[in-house]
């Protein structure tokens, strides 16, 4: 039971500090769910992101359901999702009822103005950590070049090229990358 409550409060914190869209959750999830509680590994989390991107519904609810299921089954998923959506629900109810001019307040505007560069920097840091983990197979605190995976780097390069050149839908990019994975990692095992 205590783990379910922890899950609820951790996701409540994540929901509360998600500012500027679903990806803003990624640094928070890395910090709390991966590094602090060790509920999932960074690699599992990256896989969850891929599946959350290719299934319907809000990204935040999808990843919360995944993590919750992993930690405590259906009940875990329920507590994680509840924690994740409750801050939104409460804050918006208060605003809708009493503070319709909330976003015109200069302190609110100023705070958001200052939070945006931080959130962007944090997501950039999160993607840097994913890059180190997946391509270099290392971490910053224990850095080494021994695990460098040139195939992963080539896959990133091709994916970036295709995505920017042809401006395809993210789901199509994921499908193409699955193909790249099969070609670069699967095909060599046949010979």
């Amino acid at each position: 039971m205590s783990e379910l409550l922890t899950l609820f409060f951790v996701y409540f914190e994540i929901g509360l500090f998600t500012i500027g869209g679903g990806y803003a959750m990624i640094p928070l999830i890395q910090q709390e769910i991966v590094n602090h509680y060790h509920w999932i590994t960074l690699q599992e989390f990256t896989d969850f992101i891929a599946i959350a991107e290719s299934t319907p519904g809000p990204f935040a609810v999808n990843t919360a359901t995944f993590v919750g299921m992993r930690v405590g089954g259906l009940l875990g998923a329920f507590f994680a999702v509840l924690g994740c959506i409750l801050p939104s629900f409460i804050i918006i109810l208060i605003i809708a009822k009493w503070l319709k001019n909330f976003q015109d307040n200069k302190f609110v505007k100023g705070a958001l103005y200052g939070m945006m560069p931080v959130v962007i920097a944090l997501i950039l840091n999160a993607v840097f950590i994913l890059f180190l983990n997946n391509v270099m197979n290392t971490t910053l605190s224990d850095f080494s070049l021994a695990g460098f995976d040139w195939k992963a780097l080539v896959c990133c390069g091709i994916a970036a090229f295709i995505y920017y050149k042809f401006k395809i839908h993210p789901i199509l990019l994921i499908v193409i990358c699955a193909g790249l994975g099969l070609i670069f990692y699967g095909l060599p095992t046949l010979f």
């Binding site: 929901g15 500090f17 500012i19 869209g21 679903g22 990806y23 910090q31 990256t46 891929a50 959350a52 991107e53 299934t55 319907p56 809000p58 935040a60 609810v61 999808n62 299921m69 998923a77 959506i85 629900f89 804050i91 918006i92 605003i95 809708a96 009822k97 909330f102 976003q103 015109d104 307040n105 200069k106 302190f107 505007k109 100023g110 103005y113 200052g114 939070m115 945006m116 560069p117 931080v118 959130v119 920097a121 944090l122 997501i123 840091n125 993607v127 890059f131 910053l140 896959c155 994916a159 970036a160 789901i171 994921i174 990358c177 193909g179 790249l180 994975g181 099969l182 990692y185 095992t189």
Partner: protein, 187 residues
């Protein structure tokens, strides 16, 4: 009223089941269903709600659902809209995750996911670039952003603390130093 609430729930269930990519992707569907077709709220109200949802902490998809639901049916409206948008995700992912561990243990699926992870890095990096474009390229944003990146990379300072410090710096800078909102209507 009761029928309207059920209709609201059903509409949001559909929106939750058919949007890929979260809050921003949802906006056009909500617009088509709730503003254009059912005319429950008008365009100006809707745009105002989107602005508030983006400017408030929390999941944008949930923020807009709660807001639209509240405007249409009060507390119960907000509850049903939020549940409606959440339930499809919950059900789909709960089913997928039951099979996921087995699925990922299949050799060739694991190979495919090696490639997919590269794609995810590109997608998140692209989100960073798009968000970067939405803030003005001035000294404040650059210095605060660079400092936050270095602190997040080389120290253990919590993400939440960094976001809060950003908020305080933003108030000091915008309200007291450059006085950016003088002459505007303030509450």
């Amino acid at each position: 009223m009761k029928n309207k609430l059920l209709d609201l729930f059903w509409t949001y269930l559909k929106i939750g089941a058919f949007t890929f990519g979260g809050g921003y992707a949802m906006i056009s569907l909500v617009q088509a269903e709730i503003v254009d077709r059912k005319k429950w709220i008008d365009q100006t109200q809707f745009l105002n709600m989107i602005a508030i949802s983006q400017a408030t902490p929390g999941v944008i998809a949930i923020n807009t659902a709660t807001f639209v639901g509240y405007e249409i049916g009060g507390f119960w409206g907000s509850l049903l809209a939020t549940l409606g948008v959440t339930i499809p995700s919950f059900v789909v992912i709960a089913i997928i995750s039951t099979f996921l561990t087995y699925f990922l243990s299949l050799e060739w699926i694991a190979y495919a996911f090696n490639g997919i992870r590269a794609g995810i890095i590109v997608l998140i990096f692209d989100a960073v670039i798009k968000m970067r474009r939405s803030v003005s390229p001035n000294a404040f944003n650059f210095i605060v952003g660079a400092a936050a990146f270095l602190l997040a990379t080389f120290t253990d300072i919590s993400v939440v603390i960094l976001i809060l410090i950003g908020g305080v710096l933003g108030i000091i800078w915008q309200v007291y130093i450059v006085k950016a909102y003088e002459g505007e209507k303030n509450e």
